[in-house]
């Protein structure tokens, strides 16, 4: 990818590289620019390099090489100023369970130097908006997962940041909770003209909420664009033709069917791109019969981000690769319970 130009975006990453211990290449030369007010999605499976990228952009992790600016400030040189201008919602719950919701927000307001005269009003407003006003004075360890997520969001924006980083913000939430969370984010973005950078491995979330998306895999951006552009790049529908026995010549036969734009092969199946897949299926089946190849199955898929991911990475997108942050959070919760009472 071309190196991004500095100074022209709310977030600019230019050939970011992060290598741990000299051997683990988490991010391998990532470049992109996010425009002010944009919702920019970083889409990829677990371990793709999403959180590592966020950590570098939020001055929490040193870059191995490359350069990044947030709101015009160099994240390495001006890390402490960058921290004042950004808000972060981490994938795991980071609120203090031994404090109430209100106390957690008061702490965040003090750490971000929110003017004292504004603290109470802002917190009351956020608690109401996030629909946790009734639970404001309860310890957050009694909150549900959705309430905790909304509290995390409130803590991330209590100081009205210019740029909001959301790292897998809806992980572990049910569809209703996810929809509610995004409703608040999009409202806030509209009202405050915030730039939002979100990492996710929920394809529907990236598709529906982001203005632009970068697909990251193995530490490299493999495609960028609006969700519509990315789907358009597929060149239309995809018909997957799975022969009953391996047939090296079937690809050529399918490629000759009028209306087919390209044919690819994956795991013994043929991915046929065309503009009107439904109408083309009979002709494709006929081509197989003519070639003397039996069929195990034929399926049709409209353009989707799953297909985009498959197209650019050569493998299917799996949301459940490896342990999720939620799994880790649950484990930590178990440790916490085991040690509770012996903590002081």
């Amino acid at each position: 990818m071309q190196g991004a130009q500095h100074g022209g975006g709310a977030i600019v990453a230019d050939q970011l590289v992060k290598t741990f211990n000299g051997t683990v290449h988490a991010v391998r030369g990532v470049s992109f620019a996010v425009q002010p007010g944009e919702v920019y999605g970083f889409l990829g499976p677990n371990g793709a390099g999403k959180t590592t990228t966020v950590s570098m952009l939020t001055a929490g992790l040193q870059l191995t090489s490359g350069r990044a600016t947030v709101d015009g400030l160099d994240v390495q040189r001006d890390g402490s100023v960058v921290k004042r201008r950004i808000g972060i919602v981490f994938q795991e719950s980071t609120s203090d369970g031994d404090l109430t919701g209100r106390e957690n927000l008061e702490l965040a307001a003090a750490l971000y130097s929110v003017p004292r005269a504004e603290v109470r009003g802002r917190i009351d407003g956020l608690l109401e908006r996030m629909q946790i006003g009734d639970a404001a004075d309860r310890l957050t360890k009694t909150y549900s997962g959705g309430m905790r997520r909304r509290l995390e969001l409130a803590a991330g924006i209590v100081h009205s940041p210019r740029v909001l980083f959301l790292d897998e913000p809806t992980l572990g939430l049910d569809p209703q909770g996810r929809a509610g969370f995004w409703k608040y984010v999009l409202e806030l973005r509209k009202e405050h003209e915030m730039t939002v950078f979100v990492t996710t491995h929920y394809l529907d979330e990236a598709d529906g909420m982001c203005d632009r998306i970068a697909i990251i895999d193995h530490g490299t951006i493999v495609a960028t664009g609006t969700p519509g552009e990315l789907k358009d790049r597929l060149g239309g529908d995809i018909v997957t033709v799975r022969p009953s026995v391996a047939s090296p010549t079937l690809g050529d036969a399918l490629g000759k069917v009028p209306g087919v734009t390209s044919v690819g092969q994956q795991d013994g199946a043929f991915r046929v791109k065309c503009h009107n897949g439904e109408a083309l299926v009979p002709a494709l089946v006929a081509a197989c019969v003519q070639a003397g190849v039996g069929l195990q199955g034929v399926s049709l898929k409209r353009p989707s981000l799953d297909e985009v991911f498959l197209e650019f990475t050569g493998r299917e997108f799996r949301e459940d690769e490896g342990p999720t942050a939620t799994d880790r959070a649950v484990r930590v919760g178990q440790v916490q319970s085991a040690f509770r009472g012996g903590r002081r």
């Binding site: 929490g60 981490f90 369970g97």
Partner: protein, 277 residues
């Protein structure tokens, strides 16, 4: 910086106040030591009487062993009350709370300072509880703390300083370990490895006069010894010959220890809270 330090200190105090079981448990140790250990372990009886003239030099001018022991217990308890302060840092790392705090503009010095300030309350409170309880026991017909010196403002300030600086020194040490270590199991192992040798090489509990020369040399530099010597100097009308220096000298030595530990803790906090490599 002051605002963020106070906000973080408030958080620590809320958490402490919401854990009454931990506070109750911490009270048990000094009470048991004074009521059982202190009452039973009467070195003075070996000399025929607590007030035997031969015994007083052994406890450096204290009127009896229990009084000498009570001053030592105040230092001992202050140290043990700081043992787990670093464990909270590790749990905050595990639960993501430290990640949240370090993602804000709050400085690492504030984050350390808040924990130190809040962490001083328990050891200081317990040390004075020990002195008060030991004094009260004497009025209940048990062995008790006898204050034989006329304690003026300067002496009272010196006693307070000794306990505060001792607590700050060990709280910083254990916070430093908490910032440097990731696993609770490792923390407890390291703390135990430090705690016991430090306590056992101090003159908190041993009668000074029966210690071998080499032990006295080692114990003289021990920060717990330095703190409890200040308390003993100020509470007992000891002859000047029992202590080679006045209380300010012991306090200066203790202060040096504390400054060194605080600096180390700040450095380790910066390393733990700054951008990771």
């Amino acid at each position: 910086m002051i605002r963020e330090t106070l906000a973080l200190t408030k958080r620590e105090l809320f958490r402490l106040a919401r854990n009454p079981q931990a506070i109750a448990t911490s009270l048990l140790l000094p009470i048991l030591y004074l009521l059982l250990f202190g009452q039973a372990l009467n070195f003075g009886a070996l000399y025929g009487s607590n007030d035997a003239a031969a015994f007083i030099p052994i406890v450096r001018g204290a009127p009896n062993y229990f009084s000498y022991f009570a001053a030592g217990m105040a230092g001992f308890v202050a140290v043990t009350a700081t043992l787990f302060i670093g464990a909270n840092v590790i749990f905050d790392k595990l639960f993501g709370i430290l990640k949240r705090i370090s993602s804000t503009p709050a400085s690492s010095t504030s984050i350390f300072g808040a924990r130190l300030l809040a962490g001083l309350i328990q050891p200081i409170g317990l040390a004075f509880l020990v002195l008060g309880l030991a004094w009260g026991l004497g009025h209940l017909g048990l062995s008790g703390l006898s204050i034989t010196a006329s304690v003026g403002v300067v002496a009272a300030v010196q006693v307070v300083l000794a306990i505060v600086i001792l607590s700050a020194m060990f709280a910083s040490l254990f916070l430093a370990i908490g910032f440097a270590i990731e696993q609770p199991q490792t923390y407890f192992a390291v703390v135990n490895a430090i705690n016991l040798p430090v306590l056992l090489t101090s003159a908190a509990l041993y009668p000074w006069g029966i210690l071998p020369g080499w032990f006295k040399t080692v114990a003289s530099y021990n920060p717990i010894t330095l703190a409890v010597e200040v308390i003993r100097l100020d509470l007992f009308a000891a002859a000047p010959s029992y202590y080679p220096y006045n209380a300010w000298v012991y306090l200066a030595g203790l202060f040096g220890w504390a400054v060194a530990m605080i600096l180390i803790a700040i450095l380790l906090a910066r390393r733990a809270l700054g951008p990771r490599h």
